[in-house]
Amino acid sequence: MNNVALVSIAIVTLAAALAAALLPQLMRAALSLALTFVGVAAFYVLLGAEFVGLVQIFVYVGAVAVLIVFTILLTRRGTKAAEHFKWSGALIAIAVFAGLVWAILNTPALAITAPAIQPLNVKRIGEVLLTDYVWPLQCVGLLLTAALIGALVLVMEEK
């Protein structure tokens, strides 16, 4: 973990995120969003959580980005491409960013470097997931089932 890798990944990720937020064409914005998710996965790998980075790529780049692209294709007919931009939203976002940076820079307890760490392997994650976190795991399974059934009901054609 060094500064050069972190800053170069951050530049790519934030540029892709800005493109996803500001590009007028929906399809290009969706592809920039996929690039943003790859950058976020690189952050996880840099932080020593390789499994989370892999899950991020599988779930976000593999599933969520494809879902967004399909939704764009299904809802494109009849929508106007031109849209105006609300500058009040940009002002609020800049104010929130300034407030967060001010708070982060004025907290001395956050100016620490990473301690040495033994690598977190998938075996350990699996053990913890099926012992300490077995209840949350079951709840997430139930939630995913309910959400997918709900999504199916929402998009089903009415007879």
């Binding site: 989370v52 820079l105 977190l120």
Partner: protein, 104 residues
């Protein structure tokens, strides 16, 4: 030279603000969902960063929360995009400013 925790937090704050910008200032419903996904990813980076910079050795709590948050965000994206398609079927638009039927 290794980065400090502050650098990671500032980067995730920037990602959060860009997501907030997309969610607040675009009128297309899919852009709002894209912004929400970015804000969730920024929060996840914070969880993993605080776990990595915390005292060692410890339980992988931050990693677990990030994995569960990714699963819940996937469910949220599926339902949100289904809502966008359902709204488009009824109103033939995805512009959230035109969905004002409940306005008094």
């Amino acid at each position: 030279m290794t980065p400090t925790l502050q650098l990671f937090l500032i980067i995730s704050a920037a990602l959060f603000s860009i997501g907030l910008l997309a969610a607040l200032s675009r009128r297309h419903a899919i852009f709002v969902l894209i912004g929400i996904e970015m804000m969730l990813a920024a929060a996840n980076i914070n969880f993993v960063a605080f776990w990595r910079f915390g005292p060692q050795p410890q339980e992988p709590t931050g990693v677990m929360i990030a994995i569960f948050a990714i699963a819940i965000a996937a469910a949220e994206a599926a339902v949100g995009l289904a809502l966008v398609i359902a709204v488009y079927r009824h109103y033939r638009t995805t512009d959230i400013d035109q969905l004002n039927q409940l306005r008094g």
